[in-house]
């Protein structure tokens, strides 16, 4: 059975349009104008047990709204979803015991108390048997290297340490599904890597299903082998991370190392030169023409070395987002 099954999920918000100035505010008291905003539009996908899937998309693309629907915080305008066999927005207790949602920008721990006290409270809220609780807690604090910090007031912890505590709190009841919204937001690289490692290790050990959103490509590269790309509420890609380039990358980068130690003139006629460095140059060439152009270059010049690469993933994704925006604006 799939852990998540979303079918035609859509969410339309009605947004109040406030007019400018005092007069506009007064008008707003009597007659309000609303604009319909489609945050999520007909999104369908399935996630199988044990998968680690990333939601990728620009700000406002509908990632968080989708996560909110899947965790039962928001009703969809249309469409259906089954999460762990439940309809999430019914918010059944049995459902709520089996998943966890971690939002990088919201904290659930009590600010003035040591994290250990918040953990105790979670134990009660989720009715976790004491022995099981202790084993899980010891396991998690060791995994994250925070055993000594649980007795310290949360407000005294660093942002990274606090995020680790949030993760522990979310995992104490051993959820079958972990939804993460920007888990590494605002963290430095060291802390980011630590959180990634923890999630990876935990996944390897428990086989929990994870769905996460992140702005950091690093997170996604490190964790997920499947990516859902969403722009303007529409799912535009569902597949492995590497496949994004194959689907959306329309050009290749050809790196040429010339044997005579200089870059020949008029290289631009073959394509856009993106980088020059001594005797080597990067040339951006449309994918379908790579073989042809490369043949011509090799005929005319002495080339010591050649490599053909995909453009950096970040650039490709930026292009996908950009095109999504254009086609959305046009529609």
């Amino acid at each position: 059975m799939a852990i998540i099954e979303a079918d035609g999920l859509s969410k339309t918000y009605r947004v109040f349009q406030k007019k400018e100035g005092v007069l506009g505010s007064l008008q707003g008291l009597f007659r309000r104008e609303y604009k319909e905003v489609k945050a999520v539009d007909q999104v369908s996908f399935k996630i199988e047990p044990g998968e680690m899937v990333a939601f990728l998309g620009p700000n406002g693309a509908g990632k968080t709204t989708t996560l909110k629907m899947l965790s039962g915080l928001v009703y969809p305008s249309s469409g259906t979803a089954k999460v762990l066999g439940f309809t999430p927005w019914e918010r059944r207790d049995a459902f709520r015991r089996r998943f966890a949602l971690v939002m990088g920008q919201k904290n659930q721990l009590w600010w003035d108390l040591p994290a250990a006290d918040s953990f105790q409270l979670h134990r009660e809220i989720y009715s976790i048997p004491p022995a099981e609780f202790k084993a899980t807690l010891d396991d998690l604090t060791e995994l994250l290297g925070v055993t000594k910090l649980t007795r310290q007031a949360v407000r005294e912890l660093s942002l990274g340490e606090r995020m680790k505590m949030e993760l522990i709190a979310a995992l104490l009841h051993q959820p079958q599904l972990l939804l993460l919204d920007e888990p590494t937001i605002g963290l430095d690289v060291v802390a980011q890597v630590a959180i990634q490692k923890c999630l990876r290790d935990y996944h390897a050990r428990r086989g929990v299903t994870m769905l996460l959103t992140s702005h950091y490509m690093r997170d996604i590269e490190a964790l997920c082998n499947r990516v859902l790309v969403i722009t303007h509420g529409t799912l535009v890609y569902d597949g492995p991370l590497s496949g994004i380039t194959a689907k959306f990358g329309q050009s290749k980068v050809v790196r040429l190392q010339f044997a005579d130690g200089t870059i020949p003139e008029h290289l631009e006629r073959f394509g856009e030169v993106t980088q020059r460095d001594g005797a080597s140059a990067d040339l951006k060439i449309e994918r379908s023409k790579v073989a042809e152009v490369l043949g011509t270059i090799l005929d005319q010049h002495e080339v010591a070395d050649v490599s053909v690469q995909d453009p950096p993933l970040e650039q490709v994704i930026a292009r996908v987002f950009e095109e999504g925006r254009k086609s959305h604006d046009a529609a």
């Binding site: 918000y13 009605r14 945050a39 709204t65 909110k68 965790s71 039962g72 915080l73 928001v74 009703y75 762990l84 066999g85 439940f86 927005w89 918010r91 059944r92 207790d93 049995a94 709520r96 015991r97 089996r98 966890a100 949602l101 939002m103 919201k106 659930q108 009590w110 600010w111 003035d112 108390l113 006290d117 918040s118 105790q120 409270l121 979670h122 134990r123 009660e124 809220i125 989720y126 009715s127 976790i128 048997p129």
Partner: protein
Amino acid sequence: MTLPDTLEPASQGLQPTTDFEAKTDALGPERATSPLSTIRKYYKIFRASLVERMAYRGDFFFGTILRFLPMITTILLWRAIYEGSGQQSLAGFSYREMIAYLLLTNISRMFSSMPGLAGGIAREIREGTLKRYMIQPVDMIGYLLCYRIAHKVAYIVTSFIPYALLFYVCRGFFDGLPDAPTMAAFFLSLILGFLIGFFFEASVGTVGFWFLEVTSLLYIVMTLNFFISGHMLPLDLLPEPWGSILKFLPFQYMAYFPAVIFLGKIKGAALAYYLIAEVFWVVFFLVLSRTLYRFGLRRYSAFGG
């Protein structure tokens, strides 16, 4: 007059949640959700909250002492009123009884005032921290109730000594302690008053689902309550029909009612009648707050969470 209930430190608004309808489900490894475990759960929430509240005990202590300062003004003011009127008794209250009444309303308010409750709920709605109650298997109102009981226990324990001192100093205004049945009715009315205060303010807080800004509304409610609960002066002092109307409303249970029980001004059948009415109001506000919360959540989920 003593100050309205602002000196009790407001709740910090960082609390998780509970469920009145602990549903079991055939699917998956179900953990125990018997009534007993539900009670246990809420008891633990209570205990954890108590630990948190005790972290502020110094704050409590000074807050309590500061509360008493306006009492001196109150005593002097009423002495001037009685001397000016040239009467021994006003609306059935002698000067001594009047001061005793005003001291006793402080005890009533110690139970029924809910600093930060309505505002806290409204803030959780506005800032979205309400989500935790929707995600975790815990009910917000149940959770907040446990938290508040803990808050009150901590408050009453820490302010016991200053209060005992105050009443000792003011013992001249009292004719000793009332008899045991009266004391029992007094304590019962305090506990019911706590529940009315809690569910009333919880209902007010849920207004935050419909209006983003509720501070002015809360201010109006608090100020009005200070007067119509009898915290400022005994309701008997008001001209008819206002006195009778206010005694019919639920607000009197938050200050007036416990104080007049202690002073022996309500007895026998009338006492029983008002206690039953008080229970009715507890149920009324309980149902009201839960209904508003349910409709509010529905709206919240529809408009984006």
